[in-house]
């Protein structure tokens, strides 16, 4: 019993440390690296003595706060989506990117901006979200998501195929519409610079729904870790579980990619770090992956503004710069 309490306390300590790392990043990102010389004191005054005429407070409230909130929540979304994907496929290299959600979103966004057919008449956010869903669903259906006993490998292969198709379509669109290429490329690298309060109000309800769904799949994922046949013998409807997990990942990733473009590697790294800290229990892994993902994107966004100020490096490039060495480390460790 003593042992049990101990692990609980240790886990609590780990969770608390994660929260503090995230929170520190969040607070610094509210005032750090600004042309207006914002200070931590401005953040404090915004809370303690809000003043509508104080320009610094206004910048923090109207620009910095929504951006930091969205950055964190997108990180949370991608982190959890990655944990769910890895749990479902029992493949440590699976990530939400696999679902062709990013490339689907990019494809329809590109087609939308060059004015392709009916796509001209709908707002670009809607087109992007639809693209994300279409890409994801295509992979899910081709990957045998509705079949019994579908091989997780089939999902991976379907993902690669659909990704390839959609990426080449996007490239074709970019070549046709040369003048749009810069803003498209900026979006394609994953950028938080366009984010505002409206983005936040689109993001949080979808994320909340997906989070509840994610929690409802935790026990199923814990048992799937014993093998699908064992899970099924223990009363888990594996086909139904797979459908729910895929839907959850779709929701998490689609809304994130719509608002900030594809921010890569977060969905791969966050669950790995979470697993190193909290082992195999998805009831802990899911929130932990979310926390790590949130902290990661928050810090990456802060970094993205500090590399060559006042210009912004797209945050997706920063996460890729952090993620690639980590990915190589994973592959090398897997070999030994």
């Amino acid at each position: 019993m003593n042992m049990y309490l101990n692990t609980r306390q240790i886990n609590g300590f780990k969770a608390l440390s994660l929260c503090s790392v995230g929170l520190i990043g969040f607070i610094i990102s509210l005032y750090g690296q600004s042309d207006f010389l914002l200070q931590a004191g401005d953040v404090w005054r915004l809370i303690s003595a809000p003043d509508n005429n104080d320009i610094n407070q206004q910048i923090i409230f109207l620009l910095r706060l929504p951006r930091s909130l969205v950055a964190c929540l997108i990180g949370v979304n991608l982190g959890i989506a990655g944990a769910l994907m890895q749990g479902l496929t029992r493949n440590p290299l699976a990530s939400p990117t696999l679902f062709a959600i990013n490339s689907g979103a990019a494809c329809l966004m590109a087609l939308n901006s060059i004015g392709f057919g009916v796509l001209t008449h709908i707002p670009s956010e809607v087109a992007t979200f639809a693209g994300a869903l279409i890409g994801g669903l295509l992979v899910f259906l081709l990957g045998g998501g509705l079949q019994q006993n579908a091989n997780p490998l089939r999902l991976v292969l379907a993902g690669i195929a659909i990704n390839g198709l959609l990426t080449s379509l996007t490239r074709a669109a970019l070549i046709i519409a040369d003048d749009m290429a810069y803003s498209m490329l900026h979006w394609l690298s994953g950028s938080l610079s366009e984010v505002d309060w409206q983005s936040w109000s689109q993001l949080w309800p979808v994320s909340l729904l997906a989070f509840v769904l994610a929690l409802s799949t935790c026990r199923g994922l814990n048992l799937t870790a014993l093998g699908e046949q064992t899970a099924s013998s223990l009363g888990i409807n594996v086909t139904f579980l797979r459908g729910r997990v895929c839907l959850t990942v779709l929701l998490f990733t689609s809304i994130s990619v719509t608002l900030a473009g594809p921010i890569v590697f977060v969905g791969l790294i966050a669950p790995h770090l979470a697993r190193a800290l909290f082992r195999h229990n998805y009831f802990l892994l899911v929130p932990a992956s979310g926390l790590i993902g949130g902290a990661l994107v928050c810090w990456a966004d802060l970094l993205s503004r500090s590399i060559v100020p006042p210009a912004e490096t797209p945050v997706g490039i920063v996460t890729a710069l952090i993620g690639t060495p980590f990915f190589i480390y994973l592959v090398l460790r897997g070999k030994s």
Partner: protein, 254 residues
């Protein structure tokens, strides 16, 4: 009573099980024997519902199993697959607790009764001292005991085991067979895929002999186990003697 009627399963034009009719006697240990690839594992998977039959049905006490919910079915019948996966770092107690899943409500945790059942399963399998150890740090024989404990915690009347003795040395094989007999004495009905024919005869009450997706014989060992059957099913020339200890038939290849 577990009955299987006209069970046919196949894919891509290949028939794997062809119109099987089987009755699994209640409260007995039934061994499924037959050469590699004869469809034993497929049959077990179909009974447990993880494979859907093309034709026919599996029913338990007159009730069609495919009509039951996954959860209800998991309270009646459990299966231990041939190679279950051990998640990295999971403790013995945590793994055994997984067996209680069919009894949990969707958002609920383990109740006191669940914990008691888990404890009982640990005592039964002699794993109390190892309860907080990581399963992947245990030996093969101990690990198999953990899986058996999980099935015990699931507390179903029917238990299916797919080649539980594979990769175990003889000591653990015998230990496992004796554990099965102990479970059987408590009223459990067991169906076991076995490769060792002499073990099947010695420890099991009923044999189902399969070849190429069909049933060749099903009855008590001393009624079906003879040299003619071995010749027909395994293409093996063997003589049958009575085991002097257990007084059950045993074969000695010639």
């Amino acid at each position: 009573m577990l009955t299987i009627e006209n069970l046919t399963i196949g894919y891509a034009g290949v028939v794997i099980l062809d119109g099987l009719n089987i009755t699994i006697p209640q409260g007995k240990i039934t061994a499924l024997i037959g050469p590699n690839g004869c469809g034993k594992s497929t049959l077990l998977k179909t009974i447990s519902g993880s494979l859907k039959p093309t034709k026919g049905k599996v029913s338990l006490a007159g009730q069609d199993l495919s009509k039951l919910s996954h959860k209800t079915k998991a309270q009646l019948l459990s299966i231990l697959p041939q190679s279950p996966i051990t998640p990295e770092g999971i403790s013995v107690r945590q793994l055994v607790s997984c067996g209680r899943n069919p009894y949990l409500s969707h958002w609920g945790g383990l109740s006191q009764q669940d914990r008691d059942e888990v404890q009982a399963a640990l005592i039964e399998t002699g794993l109390c001292d190892l309860a907080d150890r990581a399963v992947d740090s245990l030996s093969g024989g101990q690990r198999q005991r953990v899986w058996i404990a999980m099935v015990l915690a699931q507390d179903t009347d029917y238990i299916l085991l797919d080649e539980p003795t594979t990769y175990l040395d003889l000591t653990y094989q015998v230990e496992l067979m004796e554990m099965m007999q102990k479970m059987n004495r408590r009223g459990k009905t067991l169906v076991v895929v076995l490769h060792d024919l002499n073990q099947a005869c010695r420890y099991c009450d009923h044999l189902i002999v399969m070849k190429k997706g069909a049933i060749i014989a099903q009855d008590e060992p001393h009624k079906v186990f003879n040299s003619q059957l071995l010749k027909e099913v395994f293409s093996l020339n063997a003589t049958i003697m009575m085991d002097p200890i257990a007084n059950k038939p045993m074969c000695i290849p010639l």
